[in-house]
């Protein structure tokens, strides 16, 4: 069944909120409050009321009855309905060209009580095309460029080949293209007061077996997710508290970087998380709290580059954490500090997959590779010159070197004892040599 959305935009949305909601509740149960109006899902009303035009007329009649100064629009995509309703001037009605009988309803003016209605189906197809680009979510610099090129309306932008736009402005621009093509990437998110749902279960008999626990959690997630799904929401955090027989309750906080209601995926995450830190005693009760969040807004397009699915990435990272330790898996970060190794792993972060548009030359840059632990060495020095080096695995003549370079990470409270050299060892390679007190080490190689 095709989707159909209606939007009512009012200049006095705050004051008219109660009346607006009472009107909207006559048409839909899925309602999202906007700052300047309401968006609601009228899919399926065609069988009850008639086509989109008829639904719009009924909305308009209701607005008139309540003498509200508001604009309404009905369209197959939520963004289209919002754009048309916002763009409609007072006492005019606009409609989406993609709806079979597109249409928009008009506004009434409360102060005068004079309500004029105009439903002009002939220009509906053009109305959306004539909307200015400034109504869309395009950054100001790009808008200025479009303006200089004479591209000011949606119809102008539609004439530009999509491939060229994506090449120039990146994958993120696909959202704008979806909007102008009315592909309906936006999902209606009903406003509800609660921010979380809780499921609790007291067990008749204590559970020791891990599989039994997962079975119980599965049952709880099934109930929770069906209720969340009914509300049009999703979740990206679960808090699980296990009541234990002889010990204090254990709590686990499980987060994802994206909202999902995929139960099997959550179960795998719960499994991995609890396996990392299992409870010490039999489980006598289970409580699961699921926090609401908006669902994932859009699907990836054909232009998307290679990237693991978010679920796969998160599961893989959790498996890796279980294998090599939580602190050893993550995104590398460079620290803004003058220390010997100014970098760290951020285990909380997942790779983002963000595209960089600036062009960079492909020139090869020498990289450094650390030896763990540093390789102890014996160095022959004569007349303050490095001559020969011997390590447990090889030895060789020092062909060239530079240094000494003094190194200190906390110079304000530590003396400058650490010294380093870059050395080229004949027939071996180029290394970083360091001296700490009286000991020599090879810290790594340039590769």
């Amino acid at each position: 069944m095709s989707k159909l959305y209606a939007c009512i935009i009012s200049r006095n949305a705050k004051n008219d909120k109660a009346v607006l909601l009472s009107i909207v509740h006559e048409f839909a149960s899925g309602i999202e409050e906007l700052e300047d109006g309401v968006l609601f899902d009228v899919s399926g009303l065609e069988n009850l009321m008639g086509d989109a035009s008829e639904i719009a007329r009924r909305i308009e009649r209701k607005l008139k009855e309540h003498k509200l100064s508001a604009n309404a629009a009905v369209a197959a995509a939520a963004e289209t309905a919002i754009l048309l309703a916002r763009a409609s001037s007072p006492h005019r009605v606009s409609t989406s060209p993609s709806v079979s009988s597109p249409h928009v309803s008009k506004g009434a003016s409360r102060p005068t009580g004079d309500v004029t209605s105009q439903i002009d189906l002939s220009d509906h197809a053009d109305k959306f095309s004539q909307l200015p680009l400034r109504e869309l979510d395009i950054d100001p610099d790009t808008l200025d460029i479009f303006d200089d090129l004479g591209i000011r309306k949606i119809s102008d932008l539609r004439r530009v080949p999509v491939d060229d736009l994506i090449n120039r402005y990146g994958r993120e621009f696909q959202a704008v293209i979806d909007t102008i093509e009315q592909k309906g990437g936006r999902i209606l998110t009903p406003n509800i007061k609660e921010s979380s749902l809780t499921w609790e279960y007291d067990l008749d008999f204590p559970v020791e077996d891990f599989e039994q626990l997962i079975f119980i959690v599965n049952h709880g997630l099934d109930k929770l997710f069906s209720r969340i799904s009914y509300s049009g929401f999703s979740t990206e955090q679960l808090d699980i508290t296990l009541g234990l027989r002889k010990k204090a309750a254990r709590s686990y906080e499980i987060k994802t970087s994206f909202p999902t209601l995929e139960r099997s995926f959550w179960l795998k995450l719960v499994n991995l998380r609890i396996a990392l830190d299992p409870p010490e005693s039999e489980i006598v009760s289970v409580r699961v709290i699921s926090y609401f969040t908006r669902p994932r807004p859009s699907q990836r397009g054909l232009y998307a580059v290679s990237r693991p699915e978010p679920e796969d990435l998160l599961l893989t990272v959790n498996k890796l954490k279980k294998l090599v330790g939580e602190e050893n898996v993550g995104v590398p970060v460079v620290l803004d500090q003058r220390v010997s190794e100014p970098f760290a792993v951020d285990p909380e972060q997942l790779p983002q997959g963000r595209e960089k548009l600036e062009i960079r030359s492909e020139k090869l840059t020498a990289a450094f590779n650390y030896f763990r632990p540093p390789l102890p060495a014996a160095v022959t020095v004569a007349d303050k010159r490095l001559l020969y080096i011997k390590t447990p695995f090889w030895k060789g003549r020092v062909k060239q070197y530079s240094g000494m370079w003094k190194k200190n990470s906390h110079w304000w409270n530590r003396p400058w004892h650490d010294r380093e050299w870059d050395i080229e060892v004949e027939e071996r390679g180029v290394f970083r040599l360091g001296r700490n007190e009286d000991e020599w080490f090879l810290y790594g190689e340039y590769d």
């Binding site: 580059v305 290679s306 693991p308 993550g330 460079v334 970098f343 960079r360 020498a366 990289a367 390679g429």
Partner: protein, 216 residues
């Protein structure tokens, strides 16, 4: 006759090969095919890491997610950043010198499918330990990544992947150039030679690796 339709003609196969997705590294004159295993082998200071970082830079800047399986914890994110790698698109797995964990980690990553490249960094591991790695691992990776966009890169001091790799290069260092004089000179450039082990009559490819002393 119906079964014959499953047999692809030579022209068809050549056409498929021509259109296979390749990642080219113009600076070194190399190209790698997605969905295959590639190997860069060479001793210390032969530019293996620089080449891989350059490749990761290209992929991560395009928004692809890549992974480093760091068998000996030798990976230097500062060098990667200087080479242009977008660290926020990179997953770093430190294995602390445990070779078995490194191979298992790489296995998890290739199973996830969708990574642009998975770099198994075996630099710094003694040749004796590398020779103990069962060859079946490489064939397993090759099978796993077939028809996926993932390129598995392996760097080590000596060739380890055998016939499982589609591209295998041996690198050697020709010369090291220094700038300045006296004790305070700086490393300027490595001159390298790359030789493909898969093309017996292929020419040696010269390449150079420059040093960048700018702050990260």
């Amino acid at each position: 006759m119906r079964n014959l339709s499953l047999v692809k003609t030579l022209t068809h196969l050549k056409e498929e090969r021509k259109h296979s997705e390749e990642i080219s590294l113009e600076s070194a004159g190399l190209s790698f095919t997605r969905g295959t295993l590639a190997e860069l082998a060479g001793g210390p200071s032969t530019g293996k890491t620089s080449l891989v970082l350059s490749l990761l830079s290209k992929l991560t800047r395009a928004g692809e997610v890549c992974a480093v399986v760091d068998s000996t914890d030798g990976f230097d994110p500062c060098s990667a950043s200087l080479s242009g790698v977008e660290l926020e698109n990179l997953l770093w797995v430190r294995c602390g010198g445990d070779l078995e964990k490194a191979f298992l980690s790489a296995d998890y990553l290739v199973q996830a499918k969708g990574f642009g490249a998975v770099w198994l960094n075996l630099n710094g591991l003694p040749k004796g330990r590398l020779r103990m790695v069962p060859k079946t691992y490489w064939y397993r990776y090759r099978t796993r990544i077939k028809e996926t966009p993932t390129l598995v890169l392996v760097t080590a001091e000596e060739p380890v992947t055998g016939s499982a790799s589609q591209h295998a290069f041996t690198l050697s260092r020709e010369d090291v150039a220094w700038s300045g004089k006296g004790r305070y000179k700086l490393l300027k450039e490595f001159s390298l030679n790359l030789h493909s082990r898969k093309e017996f009559y292929g020419n040696r490819l010269p390449a150079s690796v420059g040093f960048d002393y700018s702050d990260v």
